[in-house]
């Protein structure tokens, strides 16, 4: 009998699902009975989920983990396999459960201020969407196999579509929702191929193996055994590839889904558009949780990726590139949520860089701190947007610092974390990622290139972050609404305060540089946390795999301490330089745009490197004409042949009909002639002659 909180794990997802059902059905049939349009059931449910998640996390910290599954579809006979649904609670999933349910809880409360107080209609639909999303996301987090993960991966995509398109009466949100779903679907296609490939190869998609003889093994474990050439594990590979190469293909295919959901280059284009959704939705789905699903998935099956050096290098490179690429686009944006959207893409790039560079803990660490500070920044932006009567243009803001101090100071906390200024949370996590990329990059040139891109991105991050802060909160108000902003209430300030504190202090869970430089023991709590739990899922084991299979080894510049200090100093200096430059340019009473100084680069940046253009062209310039051509071909040629056959028979019929003249002598002639011919034929065949 597992401990009670583990038995209750499914309820963590079930509670928000119930709130979804309540919002859906009571909202549809008796909206008057629904308190606050569904917000209250949602808050209660996510609050319950948060408490249960904390309880689960507490139990995990006692050294216990949990894995239980049921058979969803049983394959008949010996030769096939079953499909399972299950719950896996280990340090990684327990941590993520707390992050997701915390952010979901705060976003529900914030929504009272952003949606209810603003008099939005369709609230039950909104809260139903949030409830379904939270339930799906939490189920995704505790999924124990790749199939279940895929199922909820798709369901969060549906919720994203529903919530981006919440204001469906306008033109832009439905279009953005469609784009978001389609682009991520394109990535999910590869994920699905990979998922089916995993089943065909390993016969299971479990993340963790069972206990005892004959239990189902996890597929990363089987892959490890095969590559090590030990154990009785047998796999089928396809396309004539050896296991190493075929596993790399599978890893890349699954990565397709990751790149789509976590908005990595080249499938990042949907995320900025997704800002059409309500801001709390952006905070929950498009910053802290759903976008994290891709990165979380890689972390979840890190035991598989750690076997595949080429794939790891690609992950790191894509991550580093995305981090830099997106950060440069964030520099010129006018709208506060657009800056944050590109910042999100860039930050997930860092996580991918960390995972690819062998920094499993570092990436997970950044996943956590980013969830806090980016949710904070989005909610802060939401607060500003309320104040500005839903005007998002930063050039209409200015001087909000004195008019909304709570928002300002929490936003500042989040900004310092985002820019990576010591001692805010983002500094520690981003620094650890860059450190991992550096030390492993010293022996692998491709990783070093990724590191350099990640490092450059730090400068741009500092710049766009403080450009945003300066334009929004400093200087003189540049519009009437900025002079007389709308008030926000406790339901907005409360979540901001909680997240503001977390963004400032969450770094203490893993102050690795301090440990290394000062020699203080055991303050790398996150490392210890991720080292506990099942051996096969521990950070320690992943380290061994990286060393044995991917041949990762850490280099140093001078001594270990110098490397740490050098890495941290470099990134801090760049962040300060970027932030300082932005401050000098924009934190003045009457800032100018300065973008013209960029010359030709300005146009390229405003157009987001023309990424949208070519993707829209792929859809509307290539696929649609192709479809129309196929339609023409179908109507003209294929159906033409069908109708042609019938015309020919009709025509032939009308000709043959002429034989029937109605003249008796003609018939008599035909009769006699046919009889003679028949006789001759029979005679010839029968051998009469």
């Amino acid at each position: 009998m597992a401990p009670l909180p583990f038995e209750l794990t499914p309820a963590i997802a079930a509670l928000p699902f119930v709130s979804f059902l309540i919002a859906l059905f009571v909202g549809a049939f008796a909206p008057r009975l629904l308190p606050k349009g569904g917000a209250v059931p949602g808050i209660l449910a996510t609050g319950g989920s948060l408490l249960l998640s904390l309880w689960v996390m507490l139990t995990v910290s006692g050294g216990e983990t949990y894995h239980e599954y049921v058979t969803w579809v049983a394959g008949a006979g010996e030769a096939t396999f079953d499909l399972h649904l299950g719950v896996l609670v280990d340090p990684l999933s327990a941590m993520m459960l707390v992050i997701v349910s915390l952010v979901a809880f705060l976003v529900h409360i914030f929504s009272l201020g952003y949606m209810n107080d603003e008099g939005e209609t369709g609230l039950p639909r909104y809260y139903a969407g949030l409830g379904l999303f939270t339930a799906s996301m939490l189920s995704f987090v505790f999924a124990d196999n790749l199939l279940m993960a895929f199922m909820f991966f798709e369901l969060v995509g549906l919720c994203s579509w529903l919530l981006i398109g919440f204001w469906f009466r306008d033109d832009a949100p439905p279009s953005a929702a469609k784009k978001a779903f389609l682009v991520t679907r394109f990535g999910d296609y590869f994920f699905l191929v990979g998922l089916v490939g995993v089943f065909a190869t390993f016969g299971t998609s479990m993340f963790v193996g069972g206990e005892g003889e004959g239990a189902i093994q996890s597929f990363p474990h089987i892959a490890e055994q095969v590559l090590a050439g030990e154990g009785a594990a047998e796999v089928t590979t396809y396309l004539g590839l050896d296991p190493q190469a075929w596993f790399a293909v599978l890893g890349l295919l699954i990565l397709g889904g990751v790149v789509g959901k976590s908005a990595q280059f080249p499938l990042h284009t949907w995320l900025p558009d997704a800002m059409e959704g309500p801001t709390p939705v952006s905070a929950l789905i498009h910053a802290a949780t759903m976008v994290a699903a891709g990165v979380y998935l890689v972390a979840r099956i890190y035991g598989f990726y750690a076997l595949l050096p080429q794939v790891l290098a690609l992950i790191a490179f894509v991550g580093g590139f995305t981090a830099l690429f997106a950060a440069t686009m964030g520099v010129v944006k006018r709208e506060i949520k657009q800056v944050l959207a590109y910042s999100t893409i860039s930050q997930y790039g860092y996580m991918m860089l960390g995972l690819g560079a062998g920094g499993y803990v570092a990436a997970t660490f950044h996943l956590m701190t980013h969830a806090f500070f980016k949710a904070l920044l989005f909610l802060g932006a939401g607060s500003v947007i309320i104040a500005m009567h839903h005007n998002e243009d930063m050039w209409d803001m200015g001087g909000l610092k004195d008019r909304m101090p709570v928002t300002y100071y929490t936003f500042l906390s989040g900004s310092l974390a985002l820019a990576g200024i010591v001692p805010f949370a983002g500094f520690w996590s981003k620094d650890e990622i860059l450190y991992e990329a550096l030390v492993h990059g010293l022996n692998t040139p491709l990783l070093l290139a990724a590191y350099v891109m990640g490092l450059l991105a730090v400068f741009f991050t500092g710049f766009y972050t403080f450009r945003m802060v300066a334009l929004t909160f400093h200087g003189e108000p540049r519009s009437d609404t900025a002079r007389n902003p709308h008030d926000v209430r406790w339901n907005v300030k409360g979540p901001l305060a909680v997240l503001g504190i977390l963004a400032a202090v969450a770094g203490v869970v893993n102050m690795l540089p301090v440990q290394k430089v000062l020699g203080v023991k055991n303050i790398d709590f996150l490392h210890q946390w991720l080292d506990s739990g099942p051996e096969a899922l521990s950070a320690h084991h992943y380290g061994e795999l990286l060393h044995d299979f991917a041949h990762y080894s850490a280099g140093t510049i001078g001594s270990g301490v110098t490397t740490v200090l050098l890495g941290a100093g470099l990134s801090l200096a760049l962040a300060l330089a970027g932030a300082g430059l932005a401050w000098k340019l924009y934190a003045v009473p009457d800032p100018e745009e300065h973008t013209d100084k960029l010359g030709g680069a300005k146009t390229v940046l405003f157009n987001n490197y023309y990424q949208d253009e070519y993707q829209v062209w792929l859809a509307e310039g290539l696929t649609l004409p192709l479809a129309r051509a196929a339609d023409k071909f179908d109507q003209g040629v294929i159906d033409g042949v069908v109708n042609g056959v019938s015309s020919v028979s009709l025509f032939g019929g009308s000709r043959i009909r002429r034989v029937q003249t109605g003249v008796v002598s003609n018939y008599a002639f035909l009769l006699t002639a046919s009889f003679v011919v028949l006789l001759v034929v029979i005679g010839l065949v029968g051998g009469w002659f």
């Binding site: 549809a28 969803w72 579809v73 049983a74 394959g75 008949a76 006979g77 030769a79 096939t80 396999f81 199939l147 895929f150 199922m151 909820f152 798709e154 369901l155 549906l158 398109g165 469906f168 009466r169 306008d170 033109d171 949100p173 439905p174 279009s175 929702a177 469609k178 779903f181 389609l182 679907r185 394109f186 999910d188 296609y189 699905l192 191929v193 089916v196 490939g197 089943f199 065909a200 016969g203 089928t236 396809y238 396309l239 859809a619 696929t623 649609l624 192709l626 479809a627 129309r628 196929a630 339609d631 179908d634 294929i638 159906d639 069908v642 019938s646």
Partner: protein, 509 residues
Amino acid sequence: MWIEALIAVTLASAAAVFLAPNKVAGKLAFALSLLPLVGSLWMYSTYEASGNALLAGSELAFETNFDWVVAGPYSLSWHVGLDGISMPLIALTTVLTSLALLASWTPIDERQSQFYGLMLFLEASLLGVFSALDFFLWFVFWEMVLVPMYVLIGVWGGPRRKYAAIKMFVYTNIASLVMFIGFIALVFGLGDSVTSLDMPAIAQALRAGELGSLGPVGAGTLKVAAFVAMFAGFAVKVPVVPFHTWLPDAHVEAPTPVSIMLAGVLLKMGTYALLRFNFTMLPEVAQNNAPIIALFAVVSVIYGAMLALAQSDLKRIVAYSSVSSMGYVILGLVAYTLYGMGGATFQMVAHGLISGLMFMSVGVIYNTTHTRMVSDMSGLASKMPITVAVFVAGAFGYMGLPLMAGFAAELFIFLGSFGAFAGSVWFTAAAMFGIVVVAGYLLFAMQRTLFGDFEVETDYEVGPAAFHDVAPLVVLILLVILLGVDPSIFYDMIQNAVDPLVPATGGGV
């Protein structure tokens, strides 16, 4: 005698409705259709059978088998019975018919008693097709289906109804002829080892390799020729590209309830027959030519989806997407694996429900807007929220959203076909791309018609649909979700019936 009772009650209901006055025909037909519905559900709940109906060692449910016409050593028999493949299709038929009858109340406003009578007659024929196990009997039911279908499209259809009805009738009838010749050639090739048209006997003799030569044609050639003839014949019904062009015409002209039956059940006759005849009786021909058959499947999936993308009429979009979805069935069948063939059969049911749902929602929209053109309407979500909600849910079901029936079916098919035969990895991966294209055209269509500012070119008053229009939609979406959450409702019996077809040493998983 339960199957006989089911068919007889349905036929009697058809006759009763035919004679009833127009005013009450709709309600009477719906009420009477509940009898076979309850009957089939009762049969499902007491269903006990194992194995495949056509193979040795099977136990059939509700089986009756007696000689009907005897001439010397030759006989025709009345042989009906259900196994795990036919039981779900029987349930699908009765459920969809009742819901389609409910969906007829609004759009059908003339000659109601004839319309509803024919619908019930259609149901009886379909029940016969899915339960008959004697070829002669089966063929009678098979052809019987065409008669009400022809009239239903030709009388109650749209402006080009005559063209569409004749095209459908002639095309599928010629296909039946080709198939008939192919099958009878096989029977003659078996010589005196089989003296009846009993399908299990024929299947078992063919699988035991008792096929001799027919005239100058050797057994090997005969098999391939018969396979091709039967495949071509059934491919028209499915329909497989390039035999599909009758389908969009028929759908566009047919009234909503007829489209529901056409897409929901009639297309499954084609895949059901392919499974029963080609893939059960001549497995080695199918397996030897798996890549060619898979090519037909993949072309149907992708080409059908591309055609759907090019359409501007909601009903044509759904019609072409059926071509695409039925392609998956072929891919699953040719895999000859448990998940492949089981998934293919499950997809017949899943697609039956989902396409029925989609045609029904398009019909409900048409009832109020009097247009189906995507460009003629926008923002319907503000005016008919429940219909739109179900439409959206159904569309996502079509896209294969997890925990809905379509996902389970497609997942099973992909799991089954990946690695099952030479080149299957590429074929499977190519077919899977259909899930992206289907999302493309459905999302585009929904964005244009359901969202944005409300506007309808036809200037009709648009409001929430009537209860009897919305209720069947809700029932269908709930069924789709139920089957998606727990596929084993049907999948267990399906697996049991397809398991004997899977070769012991097959490839794949």
